[in-house]
């Protein structure tokens, strides 16, 4: 459970001590790397690697904003990175220390530039989409064989949701994901910061909220894999994980992931170096190590997420590079949209709206 581990990590963050010269401290998402890479890095450089994990952007941001996090490399998502750059959390990358920087995929770099102009502070680690995870059998039972499993109509049309409520629907507890999706469904600009446009999202989400069993950003992996629920609106890699867990358990649950045809949110997790990093040189060494084509490919082959490294693509296994849910084709890629951080006042309106949608008050 994300919230809980986050609480305990906050308590522990005070215990993080300043690193000495031969250490480099990394703070990344949980289950987001092939751990053999960590050993390889230590063997190649002789630097002690301390690798901690988090499971929500909010927890990472709280540590960064409290100051002196003690970490050398952190991996926030683009929208969070954007605001953290404004707060002065990061230092600019020194490209002279990143000999593998040429491997960066320009298509992804062009999109991440909206969070980090000129990509001065960050390099993409991995990226993915937000969409629909469906238990094929259960949804067919409830909505019939022609259920719109690749359309937002599945979850934003109250008539569908009324029926799906029987078998259980989970949605991300993240207004910054759900409100853009509701706007995309209406044909509005998903990245709108205009309060009047944002208010329209409430009109989509409020009627379907009573049919949502739970708004949560992590439990859907298990719930979907166990067959407790039939639909989850969540992150691509998580739903693919649920698919694999169900297949391993051989429990007869068959999960499919689809990016909605109306457009899906595309998000980016970015490697960056805090301004007060104890070992910025070591941080650059680590980022350069990950930017190596074979290392980056090994990470993606392990976690089933796409990366922002063009040179790595020839080393990806067919299961990853050939899966349209991970590496969408050009036509789908065109339809993916990105969003930017809400300013503080808008953020408060959005959070308040989200509470109202969820709790009715």
């Amino acid at each position: 459970m994300k919230l809980l581990t986050s609480l305990s990590t906050i308590a522990l963050c005070a215990a993080v001590q300043s690193a000495s010269a031969e250490e480099v401290r990394i703070y990344n998402w949980s289950d987001y790397i092939d751990e053999e890479l960590l050993e390889k890095f230590q063997a190649e450089t002789g630097i002690d690697l301390i690798y901690d994990v988090f499971d929500s952007n909010e927890v990472l941001e709280t540590k960064l904003l409290a100051g002196s996090s003690g970490y050398d490399v952190v991996v926030p998502t683009g929208t969070f990175l954007e605001r953290q750059i404004q707060a002065g959390v990061f230092q600019k990358l020194d490209l002279s220390q990143l000999s593998n920087h040429g491997n960066v995929w320009d298509l992804i770099a062009a999109r991440t530039a909206q969070y980090d102009p000129e990509n001065a502070y960050s390099v993409n680690y991995m990226w993915g989409t937000t969409g629909l995870g469906v238990n094929l059998k259960k949804v067919a039972e409830v909505l019939g064989d022609d259920a719109p499993i690749n359309s937002l109509d599945l979850v934003f049309n109250p008539a569908n949701m009324e029926k799906l409520a029987e078998c259980g629907v989970y949605m991300l507890d993240a207004p910054t994901e759900m409100i853009p999706a509701a706007l995309a469904y209406l044909g509005e600009d998903p990245n709108s910061h205009d309060p009047d446009v944002l208010a329209k999202a409430e009109g989509v989400l409020a009627p379907i909220a009573p049919y949502v069993a739970k708004f949560n950003s992590s439990e859907y992996i298990n719930a979907l894999a166990n067959g407790d629920i039939c639909v989850a609106f969540g992150w691509s890699g998580d739903i693919l994980q649920a698919r694999d867990r169900a297949a391993e358990a051989e429990n007869g649950v068959e999960i499919a992931y689809n990016a909605p045809s109306e457009g899906a949110l595309m998000w980016f997790d970015q490697m960056a170096v805090p301004a007060d990093a104890p070992n910025p040189e070591g941080a650059h060494k680590f980022i350069n190590f990950i930017l190596d084509a074979q290392n980056m490919a090994a990470a993606s082959n392990y976690v089933y997420y796409a990366n922002g490294n063009l040179a790595a693509q020839e080393f990806l296994v067919e299961d990853v590079i050939g899966d349209l849910a991970i590496y969408p084709d050009a036509a789908t890629l065109e339809k993916l949209y990105t969003v930017t951080a809400y300013p503080p006042r808008v953020q408060r309106t959005v959070t308040r709206m989200w509470t109202k949608i969820k709790s009715g008050t």
């Binding site: 929500s56 605001r83 953020q347």
Partner: protein
């Protein structure tokens, strides 16, 4: 008073000052500041290099704006009230379950009591989080409880318990039960059995003797148990977020959202300060009242 004794007494006071009073004042100070995109994410921060003028400038920027904000949006008052309601009902249910427990243990043969008490405390040996997670496995639609009930034929459709307030009550009663049982047991254990005999000799029925003697004398334990359950239940965050549904409105969740989603440390601090006051004021009033009664009885 000699020095050694003073030192000894100063230890708990020192503990309270360092670990309660100072953090409380820091939180209070943050609640008077404003949100900012910076490290730390609020303004103003004290600039000691400017000396007194810096301190004066700092002081003039503090205000009670955040508390006014909390009063203006009905969300917060509703969340406090809803937490209060949930904590009250849950405390009552825990008492309902806990009292017979304590009564049974206190009346068990003396050689059994340590083992029975051990059974009450035993769940504490497992992490709180794991116990709440285990309840998810039991209460969910495909969980053990529903599977068992459907297997026995009591129900044909799974009961929806998970993600409702009922699951929150079950979670609170289950996890806080020892806090209710232990204080009640300790008062019942000391109960003089001859008082009950005397009551019956003087014409009480068994039931009225139970009410006027056992329950009356157990009152301090009941009150202590209720406080021990009610206070943590009011600010509970883990149980409603794991077992409750999105319509379970509790102040702990609102606080989390202010701190993490809005990153508004000042408003989150104001919410926490009010929660603390809401808890402390009734307890202080209650204790005053108790003390007065005790003095009157003398």
């Amino acid at each position: 008073m000699n020095l050694g004794r003073r030192l000894l007494i100063s230890v708990p006071y020192g503990w309270l000052v360092v670990l309660f009073l100072i953090p409380f004042l820091i939180v209070f100070k943050i609640s008077l500041s404003d949100y900012a995109i910076s490290i730390p994410p609020y303004t103003p921060t004290l600039d000691t290099s400017e000396g007194w003028s810096g301190f004066a400038a700092y002081w003039s920027k503090l205000d009670f704006e955040n508390f006014v904000f909390l009063a203006e949006d009905s969300l917060y008052i509703k969340a406090y009230l809803s937490s209060f309601k949930i904590a009250t009902i849950a405390t009552f249910l825990t008492l309902l379950v806990g009292f017979p427990f304590a009564y049974a243990i206190a009346n068990a043969p003396e050689e059994w009591r340590p083992s029975l008490l051990l059974l009450v405390i035993l769940p504490f040996w497992t992490s709180f989080l794991i116990r709440v997670y285990a309840l998810i496995g039991i209460l969910s639609n495909e969980g053990f409880l529903n599977q068992f009930l459907m297997w026995t034929g009591v129900i044909s459709e799974p009961l929806v318990i998970m993600n409702t307030n009922a699951a929150v009550y079950i979670g609170i009663v289950y996890t806080y039960l020892p806090f209710m049982v232990l204080p009640i047991y300790s008062t019942l254990e000391k109960l003089d059995g001859s008082l009950l005999e005397a009551a019956q000799d003087l014409g009480c029925t068994r039931i009225s003797a139970f009410w006027s003697v056992t329950v009356h004398l157990a009152k301090p334990g009941v009150i202590a148990g209720c406080f021990l359950v009610f206070i943590p239940a009011l600010g509970e965050f883990v149980i409603p977020s794991l077992l409750g549904g999105s319509r379970t409105l509790m102040i702990g969740k609102v606080l989390w959202e202010e701190f993490f989603s809005n990153r508004d440390w000042p408003v989150a601090s104001a919410v926490a300060i009010i929660l603390l006051l809401v808890l402390i004021i009734p307890i202080v009033l209650f204790q005053r009242n108790e003390q007065k009664q005790r003095e009157q009885n003398k």
